[in-house]
Amino acid sequence: MKTGEINSLEFNRVLLYLVDNTDRTISTPVIQLCKIFKSHLFVLFVLEEHRISKLASLTRENIELTRQRFEEEGWEMLYLVEDEAVENGVRTSLHMENGQVTRLIKKYVENYKINLILVRKREETKKIFVSAAVPVMGL
C-alpha cells in the first residue's frame, strides 16, 4: 500500500484498548498515527473481574487492594497516554469501564463511531481481532 492510499483511509476516530500489562511505550506510535490521520483518540481501560481475581490469587493479596491497585495503574496508563497526546495536539478522551471487553468494544465502536482499534498483541487481546466490526491494528 502506498502512502497516498494510507492517507485516503478515514481513521478519524481511533480506539486504543489498554490491558494491565501493556507497556507504556505504546503511546508514541499511537499518537503519531493519530496525528497522521487527525484522529480523535479514545483510550479505554477495562476493569475485568476475572483478571482482578486471577491477579489477587497470584499475588495472594486481598482482592479489594488488588482491585484498587489495578484501577490506579489503569488510570496512570490512561493519563500517561493523554499527557503525550496533549503535547502533540491530539484530541483525546479517557475511559475507565467495568465489564466484559468485547462487549464494551462493540459498544464503543457503535456509540462513538470508532473506525480503527489499536491494541498490543497479547494472548488476551486475540479475541478483539476476531470479534471487532472495524479494522484492528496490533502494535
Binding site: 484501577e71 496533549v86 491530539v90 478522551s93 479517557l94
Partner: protein, 153 residues
C-alpha cells in the same frame, strides 16, 4: 513514600460554591482564586495550560466530576484545588452530565510522575459513589479534606 491526595489539599484551596456556569469561565475563576491565594504565580500561563487541555479533551470524567489539570511552571509544586457548583458546570463530560465537583490539579513540568499518580488516585477515588455524595454534602473545607483522607486510608 506513597503519595496521598489529602496531603496536597489545603483548607484555603477549597471553594465551597463556584459562580461560573461554563467551562472556561470556571477555569478562569479557579485560576484567579489560586493566584489570589498564592497557590499559583502566573495567571495567564496557568490559564493557557488548562485551557489548552480542555480544548483537546474533556476533563469531565462523568458522574458530575471534572478534573481540569495541567503540567506548567506557573506552580512551584503539585497543587490541588477543590471546588463545588450546586448548579453544575458543563465540562463536556463523556456522559453529558454537568459537573458539580471540580478538582483542579497542577504540577510543575518536572514532576510528571507525581502528577500522573495524583490524577490516577483522585480519579479512582471519585468513581466511588459514596465519596461523591459525601463531597457534595460537605459543609466546610476541613470536612472536604477529611472525606478525602478517610477514603484514602
Amino acid at each position: 513514600m506513597e503519595l496521598r491526595i489529602s496531603n496536597f489539599l489545603k483548607p484555603d484551596a477549597v471553594i465551597m460554591e463556584m459562580h461560573a456556569t461554563e467551562k472556561l469561565e470556571a477555569i478562569r475563576e479557579l485560576v484567579d482564586f489560586m493566584v489570589g491565594k498564592n497557590i499559583a504565580r502566573n495567571r495567564e500561563q496557568l490559564f493557557e495550560a488548562l485551557a489548552k487541555r480542555e480544548n483537546l479533551e474533556s476533563t469531565g470524567i462523568g458522574e458530575g466530576i471534572a478534573i481540569p489539570h495541567a503540567r506548567t511552571d506557573a506552580v512551584d509544586d503539585l497543587v490541588l484545588v477543590f471546588a463545588r457548583s450546586s448548579a453544575g458546570i458543563d465540562f463536556s463530560s463523556i456522559d453529558g452530565k454537568p459537573s458539580h465537583i471540580i478538582f483542579l490539579i497542577a504540577s510543575p513540568e518536572n514532576k510528571k510522575s507525581e502528577y500522573i499518580i495524583a490524577l490516577a488516585k483522585l480519579s479512582r477515588l471519585l468513581r466511588k459513589l459514596p465519596v461523591r455524595e459525601q463531597l457534595r454534602n460537605a459543609t466546610n473545607p476541613q470536612e472536604v479534606i477529611n472525606i478525602i483522607k478517610s477514603n484514602e486510608e
